[in-house]
């Protein structure tokens, strides 16, 4: 069963690139890696998803090495509004396993 580990908190400054890494040593063949963002008093919101290598969308990039035992969410040029908790999710609905990380609280400073 995959277990995910991510840093509890991170600080950065506006305009910087932020990388948050999630460790998932026991990831299974069917598992995808998904990242969510959560603001206070709201439900999590999907950011990006990938299976291997690199995925990029309009808000983030996701880097997954060949062994897939970790993944890195990259947020380019962060702003104050990126202050939130970021969750790594590993799993596949097909085998009913969804493993959420504990979340990384990201604080962006002016």
């Amino acid at each position: 069963l995959a277990k995910t580990t991510q840093p509890i908190s991170m600080d950065s400054y506006e305009g910087q690139e932020v990388n948050i890494t999630c460790s998932h040593n026991n990831i299974a063949t069917n598992d995808y890696i998904t990242w969510y963002q959560q603001f206070p008093s709201q439900g999590p919101r999907f950011i990006i998803q990938g299976y291997k290598t690199k995925v990029t969308n309009e808000v983030a990039s996701l880097f997954i090495p060949a062994d897939r035992k970790s993944s890195t969410l990259s947020l380019p040029r962060v702003s104050l509004s990126d202050t939130a908790v970021y969750y790594c999710l590993v799993g596949a609905y097909s085998n009913y396993q969804l493993i959420w990380g504990a979340g990384t609280k990201l604080i962006i400073k002016p």
């Binding site: 008093s41 439900g43 999590p44 919101r45 969750y87 009913y96 959420w100 979340g103």
Partner: protein, 116 residues
């Protein structure tokens, strides 16, 4: 703008009372999830349904919790009897897709439950 809705948004009750939380998934989404979030435990998956059938509820305390989908537009989570340790924010999420099992989950705003 399609959204998952949850009612009530806030609930304060006394220990021993029954609590029912409701969720309306996005129209056309056939997978529905129930989560519980606390500061100590983080986000916990309680149960989920596909096409109204329960697929997994291993994360849910069976003695007091029950989850159902009476129809495709309504999911319910009941706690009977409630206990102070059930105090948390309960989220419902829905996702589309039959063949693709990895689809994005759309979360509702949550129900904040306080059991005194």
């Amino acid at each position: 703008d399609a959204r998952v809705t949850q009612t009530p948004r806030h609930k304060v009750t006394e220990m021993g009372q029954e609590v029912t939380m409701r969720c309306q998934p996005i129209l056309g989404h056939n997978t529905v999830f129930w989560y519980r979030q606390t500061m100590m435990q983080g986000l916990e998956l309680l149960a989920y349904f596909r096409n109204r059938a329960p697929l997994d509820d291993s994360g849910m305390p069976k003695d007091r919790f029950s989850a159902e989908m009476p129809d495709a537009t309504l999911a319910t989570l009941k706690i009977q009897p409630s206990e102070p340790r059930d105090s948390a924010v309960y989220f419902c999420a829905s996702a589309p897709g039959e063949g693709n099992f990895y689809n994005e989950q759309f979360f509702g705003p949550g129900t904040r439950l306080t059991v005194l």
